[in-house]
C-alpha cells in the first residue's frame, strides 16, 4: 500500500504529446500592446538619458539665474569638469568626460536589476515570454541561473547605492529653496526637484529587496516586532512598485528636461521669494 512516507516514485517521461494546435498562442486579446508600450517608453527614456548624459552642459541653473537647480542626472557633480556652483568640491580629478556617465551607473544598475523592470524587459525586449501563454521567442532557456543574468542577484547592493543617491537628491531639493542673491524662495523648479525626490524614495522603499531586508527575511515576526512593523508598512508600497517605477522613471527625465530648459534660458522658472 502506498503511503505518504512511501510514495510510488515514477518520474514523468519528457516529451508527452501536448494538446491544442501548434501555434504560438490562442489568445485573441491585444496582448502585444503592453510589451509595445514598454519597449517604446524604455527606448525613449534610454535615448533621452544617453543624450542628456553625453551633452554635458545646461544641467545646472545657478546664481546667474538666482536659482540652485541641478539635474538628477548630474548630481552629485564631483569631477573637475562640473560647472561652478554645481558641486560641493572636486573629488574625482581623473574623470574628464561627462560626470553624468559616472553617476548613472548606479541608478541604471538599480533599475536594470529591479524585479519589476526585469519582468518588463524580459517580456518586451527579450520576448521570454512576450505575454502570458504566448510562446517564447527562444529555443532554449536557463533564466537567471547562469552568468551574466546571475548578476541580477546583486540587486540589493544597487538598492543600497540608490538610497545614497536618494539622500543626495533630497538634499538637492532642499537646497533648491535657496535662491542665490535673493534669499529663500519657492519656484516651479523647486517643486519639480521635491516631487522627483519623493517619487525616487517611493520607488526605493517599495523595492522587493528593501521589503526583504527590512523584515521579510525574518522567520518569526513576534521576535522582531519593529522589523515586523516596518515590513507591514512597506508591503502596501510594494504592491504599487510598478506604478512607482514608471512614475519615477518618467519624472526623473522630466526633471532633467526642466532644469535643462531653465539653465539654457529657454524658459523662465517662475517662483517667489521671501
Amino acid at each position: 500500500m502506498t503511503t505518504l512516507e512511501q510514495p510510488t516514485i515514477t518520474p514523468v517521461v519528457l516529451g508527452g504529446a501536448r494538446g491544442g494546435p501548434e501555434v504560438r498562442t490562442l489568445r485573441k486579446d491585444r496582448y502585444w500592446v503592453q510589451p509595445l508600450v514598454t519597449v517604446t517608453v524604455l527606448t525613449l527614456f534610454v535615448g533621452y538619458a544617453s543624450w542628456a548624459a553625453f551633452v554635458n552642459k545646461d544641467y545646472f541653473a545657478g546664481a546667474a539665474l538666482h536659482r540652485n537647480l541641478i539635474s538628477p542626472f548630474y548630481s552629485p557633480c564631483l569631477t573637475e569638469s562640473c560647472v561652478p556652483g554645481s558641486h560641493p568640491g572636486t573629488v574625482i580629478s581623473w574623470w574628464t568626460i561627462s560626470p553624468a556617465l559616472l553617476i548613472l551607473i548606479f541608478p541604471l544598475g538599480f533599475r536594470m536589476t529591479c524585479y519589476y523592470y526585469r519582468k518588463a524587459y524580459y517580456r518586451s525586449f527579450w520576448q521570454a515570454p512576450p505575454a502570458c501563454a504566448v510562446s517564447d521567442a527562444h529555443g532554449s532557456y536557463t533564466g537567471e541561473s547562469r552568468f551574466p543574468l546571475l548578476l541580477q542577484n546583486l540587486h540589493r547592493y544597487f538598492f543600497y547605492a540608490g538610497l545614497v543617491f536618494n539622500v543626495i537628491l533630497t538634499i538637492d531639493a532642499v537646497l533648491a529653496f535657496r535662491q542665490p542673491g535673493v534669499g529663500i524662495g519657492f519656484s516651479l523648479g523647486t517643486a519639480v526637484l521635491v516631487v522627483n525626490a519623493c517619487l525616487l524614495w517611493l520607488y526605493s522603499l517599495s523595492c522587493h529587496a528593501c521589503r526583504h531586508l527590512c523584515g521579510g527575511g525574518v522567520k518569526r515576526f513576534s521576535a522582531a516586532p519593529i522589523r515586523h512593523r516596518i515590513w507591514k508598512a512597506l508591503t502596501p508600497l510594494n504592491t504599487h512598485h510598478m506604478l512607482f517605477a514608471w512614475m519615477s522613471l518618467v519624472f526623473v527625465a522630466l526633471t532633467d528636461l526642466y532644469v535643462r530648459l531653465v539653465a539654457s534660458g529657454a524658459i523662465h522658472d517662475y517662483g517667489f521669494h521671501f
Partner: protein, 327 residues
C-alpha cells in the same frame, strides 16, 4: 467565418471550438448551441456533452472554483472553466477551449498533471522544532498570528496547476521539467520557509535542484491564479531574496561565518522528502538538446548520471528511485 459570427450574435447562439484528441493527435471541433443567461464555460461544455458529443472528456468536480479540476485554456488564457462566465468573453465570437498546454494530453480537455504530483513528493515537508518544556506541558506549540499570517495566503492554493501551465519555463521548454519545481511548489516552499516552527533550510535546494533561478519573474503565475495568491511578490521573490542571503551576498556570508551559522546543503534539506531525484526524466527517444537526468546523490550532495545502475537510460521509471522504492 464572419457570416457564422454574425449569425451567432443575431440568433443568440454560442459557438464553442473545443479541442478533441488524444496523444495521437487531434483537432478543434465546433459546436453551436443556444446561448443561455448566466452560464460559465463549464456549463456550456456540459451541454455539449449532453446534446452533441457524449464522448467529450473533461475533468470537473465542484463547479465552485475550489477543487481545481476544470483547468483549461479559454481563448488561449489558462483559466478555470467553472469560473469563466460566458458574458465575460467577447460577444458573438467563437470561444476556443483547449487543454492545458504544459502537460501531456490524455483525451480532449483532460491532461496528465502527474508531473506536479512528482514534484510535490520532492518538497521537504514541514519539520517543526523541538517543543519547549512549557509546550510539552500544554501539549501543543505556541504561535502568534503575526507569525503565521504570511504563510496562510499560500494555504488558499487549490492546486489547479494553472500557474504551472502558464509558466513558460516548462510550458515552452520541456527539458526544464527535470530541474524546475514551478510556481505552485515555490509557493509551497515559501509557506514552509516562512513558518515560524519549521527548522528546515531549503534555500540551497531551491537554488540548485528546484530551479528557482530559472524563474524570470514575469508574473504570469500571479495573473492566472484563481485564488489571487500573489505568488511572485509574496512567494517567489522572497525566496529569491533568501537564496541571495544564502549564496550571493558576501556580507550575509560574512555574518554567517562570524556567528558560526551555516546553511543546509541541498541534500540535508531534502533528507526528509518523501522522494528524491528529478520529477521528470528523459525518455528513450530524447529530444535534441534535452540533457540526461542525474540519477543519484554522490558525496552526499551532488547529482550525477548513474551509468552503472541497472536499466539506467533504458527504463526511465527506475532512474532516480532510491533503494527499496516501489517494492
Amino acid at each position: 467565418m464572419a457570416e457564422e459570427l454574425t449569425r451567432a450574435a443575431v440568433s443568440g447562439e454560442v459557438t464553442m471550438r473545443v479541442w478533441r484528441g488524444d496523444d495521437g493527435g487531434g483537432e478543434f471541433a465546433d459546436y453551436v448551441l443556444p446561448a443561455q443567461e448566466g452560464e460559465v464555460v463549464l456549463d456550456v461544455v456540459h451541454r455539449i456533452q449532453a446534446t452533441q458529443a457524449p464522448d467529450l472528456a473533461c475533468r470537473w468536480n465542484c463547479k465552485a472554483g475550489k477543487c481545481g479540476s476544470c483547468s483549461a485554456e479559454i481563448n488561449g488564457v489558462p483559466s478555470l472553466m467553472c469560473m469563466t462566465r460566458m458574458d465575460s468573453l467577447p460577444a458573438g465570437e467563437t470561444v476556443t477551449v483547449a487543454p492545458m498546454r504544459a502537460f501531456p494530453v490524455l483525451r480532449d480537455l483532460v491532461t496528465d498533471v502527474s508531473f506536479n504530483y512528482e514534484v510535490a513528493k520532492r518538497i521537504p515537508p514541514f519539520q517543526p522544532r523541538e517543543k519547549t518544556e512549557d509546550e510539552v506541558t500544554v501539549g501543543g506549540y505556541r504561535m502568534q498570528q503575526m507569525d503565521v499570517e504570511r504563510s496562510q495566503e499560500f494555504r488558499k492554493c487549490i492546486e489547479c496547476y494553472l500557474c504551472q501551465d502558464v509558466c513558460h519555463v516548462i510550458r515552452d521548454h520541456e527539458e526544464n521539467k527535470t530541474s524546475f519545481a514551478g510556481p505552485r511548489f515555490f509557493a509551497r516552499s515559501a509557506e514552509l520557509e516562512m513558518h515560524p516552527l519549521d527548522v528546515n533550510d531549503r534555500r540551497e535546494l531551491l537554488r540548485r535542484d528546484q530551479g528557482l533561478g530559472k524563474c524570470n519573474i514575469t508574473k504570469c503565475c500571479t495573473e492566472v491564479c484563481p485564488e489571487n495568491i500573489k505568488i511572485t511578490d509574496n512567494a517567489i521573490i522572497p525566496l529569491k531574496e533568501r537564496v541571495v542571503d544564502a549564496s550571493y551576498d558576501p556580507v550575509a556570508w560574512l555574518g554567517r561565518k562570524l556567528r558560526n551559522r551555516s546553511k543546509k546543503s541541498a541534500a540535508e534539506a531534502a533528507a526528509t522528502s518523501p522522494a528524491e531525484g528529478p520529477a521528470a526524466v528523459q525518455g528513450d527517444d530524447p529530444a535534441h538538446g534535452i540533457p540526461g537526468p542525474p540519477s543519484r546523490w554522490v558525496d552526499g550532495d551532488d547529482w550525477v548520471q548513474d551509468t552503472d545502475a541497472p536499466d539506467a537510460g533504458t527504463d526511465p521509471h527506475t532512474v532516480g528511485a532510491p533503494e527499496g522504492a516501489g517494492e
